[in-house]
């Protein structure tokens, strides 16, 4: 594999970002981005899962029977997601109450299975680690960017802290609190990214 970690990271985060290139993982992108704190927990969960599942699938790639390779990947991904779920529930129960249903859905996040199947099952653990990290960071970058618009416009806060002079100038955009707000933001972000970051 000629790809260096640097190339893998650049591709995964920018030019081949799974969210705006393949429109993968948008269920959670719509659901958890109205508050930045929720988004950050979700991103950490996804990064951990993509990295760990990629490395594990890569380590086992020569031992996995072909006909059960998908079920094996699901088993590996589901186990890591359950660990993430338990840890968030134990350390931040209030955030878990809100993002809990979506943490479970990380299992079905197509980015993770996509990277395990397309990259980790054919590459060594070290490049697979970087590929998982890149996919997770790419996903996180888009989610954080959306949350950084939705939370200030929807709630007048950033990470729960009021914007300066909020009482004077701020007016609530209710749509940013609701999932359609994320649709608009995702559309705008995809537009900008494809125009500026992607060379067709």
């Amino acid at each position: 594999m000629a790809d260096t970690p640097r190339n893998i990271l650049t591709q995964g985060i920018f030019s081949e970002n799974a969210v705006y290139r393949q429109v993968l993982g948008i269920c959670s992108a719509l659901a958890v981005t109205n508050l930045l704190a929720n988004t950050l927990f979700m991103c950490v969960g996804v990064i951990f899962t993509t990295v760990m599942s990629n490395v594990t699938v890569s380590l086992l790639r020569n031992h996995i029977p072909k006909r059960v390779r998908m079920i094996t990947q699901v088993l590996i991904i589901a186990s890591y997601v359950m660990m993430v779920d338990i840890v968030i529930k134990a350390t931040s129960p209030d955030i878990h109450r809100f993002i809990g249903p979506y943490v479970g859905l990380i299992i079905t996040n197509c980015i993770i299975m996509g990277r395990a199947e397309a990259f980790a099952s054919q590459n060594r653990p070290w490049p697979s680690f970087w590929d998982g990290l890149a996919a997770g960071l790419g996903y996180s970058m888009v989610l954080i960017a959306i949350a950084l618009v939705r939370e200030p416009l929807g709630f007048g806060t950033v990470l729960g802290m009021d914007l300066p002079g909020k009482d004077i100038w701020w007016y609530q955009w209710t749509i940013m609190v609701m999932p359609p707000g994320a649709f608009f933001m995702l559309g705008i972000m995809t537009w900008i990214a494809r125009a500026r970051l992607v060379k067709e």
């Binding site: 659901a31 029977p65 350390t91």
Partner: protein, 215 residues
């Protein structure tokens, strides 16, 4: 053993399941105490909120202290179930609360209902646990929805399943009715059925065990 043979495949999947099953169990075991503490704090905080009480701070110890100092807690076994009944300490004709257990469309819906002493009106509804669809049924936990139950009349003269009504009704009696959640008709219906069933059982409990008469 050949990699593609059935015996190897079964061996591989079994080993992997055991390994990861053990991993998840280990993480669960290591966080067990934290989970139990969180559960207790959530219960106490919900209870304090349902009764509209104040606490010194917002730590688990503050909520526990407030519950111990301000509430009478009675555990009563009635109709094969353990009920928790709460009243305010040192107050005559205190509001009375209890933990209700119901079912939504996906899983259980549990929470706390606080009623006036004479059981004629609901004072608050708070949820301890629900797993309804995020963005739809799960909106029962939002403040604007719970707010509607404050002061809601419980129409004991009505048939059992319509003492409180969530949604539309043929009878124009807004005093015991709140609007259902748009897009979550089934959750609203399930919540209504659960609350009415629990209210009925709770009234029987109060009458048979004469709990409020002893205050």
């Amino acid at each position: 053993m050949k990699k593609e043979s059935t015996a190897y495949t079964i061996f591989f999947i079994l080993s992997l399941t055991l390994f990861f099953g053990a991993g998840v169990s280990l993480v669960h075991h290591l966080t067990r105490d934290m989970l139990a503490e969180n559960e207790l704090m959530h219960h106490n905080r919900t209870l304090i909120k349902a009764f509209g009480l104040e606490t010194q701070g917002s730590s688990a110890a503050d909520y526990l202290e407030a519950v111990e100092n301000k509430l009478n807690i009675r555990k009563v076994v009635f109709e094969n179930r353990e009920w928790e009944v709460y009243t305010l300490k040192d107050q005559e004709s205190s509001p009375v609360g209890f933990v209700f257990k119901g079912r939504g469309i996906w899983d259980v819906i549990n929470g706390i209902i606080v009623l006036e002493h004479d059981l004629q009106k609901m004072l608050s509804l708070e949820f301890l646990e629900q797993h309804e669809t995020p963005g739809l049924g799960a909106r029962i936990e939002e403040e604007w929805f719970k707010e509607k139950f404050k002061g809601l009349k419980v129409d004991w003269d009505n048939e059992k399943k319509h003492r409180i009504i969530i949604g539309t009704t043929a009878q124009p009696d807004p005093e015991n009715q709140v609007d259902s959640i748009t897009g979550a008709t089934q959750t609203s219906q399930a919540l209504m059925d659960s609350i009415n069933r629990e209210l009925d059982a709770f009234k029987r409990l109060i009458q048979e065990k004469q709990i409020l008469d002893r205050d």
